[in-house]
């Protein structure tokens, strides 16, 4: 019994898509024939430049119905949201002993809780369509340690845990839920890191947003219909 193919009017929502990995993902999905909605919080111009698509404003960390607002808007403009890429993420680094509650809460809210709320809302059209793709952008940090990022590691490890359980809950409806775990990728988030980080990367280079986007594109494709609950590391061998 093979899986149902992607419906024609299927729409993808990529959160945090003004720049970096999110922007590359939006472009890759558009190239693959998805209608794409790009969510942004602060950089409207960046989001609009990303791809010829609709840019929807909203801070994913806002508990007041932002998930419903973003997805409903896309449904009206394009069609049912059948792919969700939870990419929006922030850092607020500090050693645990010095990390205040606000730094902890902000990172958990944006990187984990928001992804849960978006996923919960997106399940409605996906279950109805008997087709769906949720891709959570996790990190090598979480599965492995990174001093100064207790909040980020907790959120990203949490995303991987959530990925597995939600995948098991909805698998029989043709909805897959996977994670990608990027290593060091050349984006604004990593531009201040010293070259010595490459000591722990067997490939001896940083990755590109496009390399992460290619993994997301695969997981969103019809070809990946039997891949669910997994985490695809895009890290130059860092986790090997």
């Amino acid at each position: 019994m093979s899986q149902k193919p992607r419906p024609d009017n299927a729409t993808a929502l990529v959160t945090g898509a003004s720049k970096g990995i999110g922007a590359a993902v939006a472009i890759a999905l558009a190239a693959d024939g998805w209608n794409v909605g790009v969510g942004y919080r602060s950089d409207k111009e960046g989001a609009e430049k990303t791809v010829k698509a609709i840019a929807v404003e909203g801070d994913v960390a806002d508990a007041n119905g932002v998930a419903d607002e973003l997805i409903s808007k896309l449904e009206q403009e394009f069609g049912p949201v059948l792919a969700l890429v939870n990419n929006a993420g922030i850092t607020a680094d500090s050693l645990a002993i010095q990390m205040d509650d606000d730094e902890w809460d902000r990172v958990i809210n944006t990187n984990l809780t928001a992804a849960f709320r978006m996923t919960r809302r997106a399940m409605r059209p996906m279950l109805k369509a008997r087709f769906g793709r949720v891709i959570n952008v996790a990190s090598v940090v979480g599965p492995r340690a990174n001093a100064g990022q207790a909040n980020y590691a907790a959120a990203k490890a949490g995303l991987i845990g959530m990925t597995k359980t939600v995948a098991a809950e909805v698998a029989k409806r043709g909805v897959t839920v996977n994670a990608v775990a990027p290593g060091f990728i050349a984006t604004e988030m990593t531009e201040d890191l010293p070259d010595s980080i490459l000591d722990v990367v067997p490939a001896k280079r940083v990755g590109t947003p496009e390399e992460v986007a290619a993994a997301v594109r695969f997981l969103a494709s019809d070809d990946a219909g039997y891949v669910t609950g997994s985490t695809l590391f895009v890290d130059g061998g860092m986790s090997a």
């Binding site: 409605r124 279950l127 109805k128 809950e169 909805v170 029989k172 409806r173």
Partner: protein
């Protein structure tokens, strides 16, 4: 949203939904348990979404956990909508 929610209308909605999840229409009776019909928790969650869209009645996980038969589901929706 219909102005009056009759047990008959709700029963039709529930039956139409359940058929999509696998059971044969003739096997679905008010006294049938979801277990007998092989209707699982995801099916019931989806049934709840259909009920919410149709009647504006929001059923939570704990509500759904208590209902065992097709008749229980119909009664709960009628009661909440009333």
């Amino acid at each position: 949203m219909p102005e009056t929610v009759t047990p008959e209308a709700v029963e039709t909605t529930v039956r139409d939904a359940l058929v999509q999840f696998g059971p044969e229409a003739e096997d679905i009776k008010l006294e049938s348990t979801f277990e007998e019909l092989d209707v699982d928790s995801l099916d019931l969650a989806e049934l709840s979404q259909i009920i919410e869209d149709e009647y504006g009645v929001k059923l939570k996980g704990e509500d759904v956990g208590k209902i065992k038969t097709v008749g229980d589901a119909v009664d709960l929706v009628v009661q909440r909508a009333g």
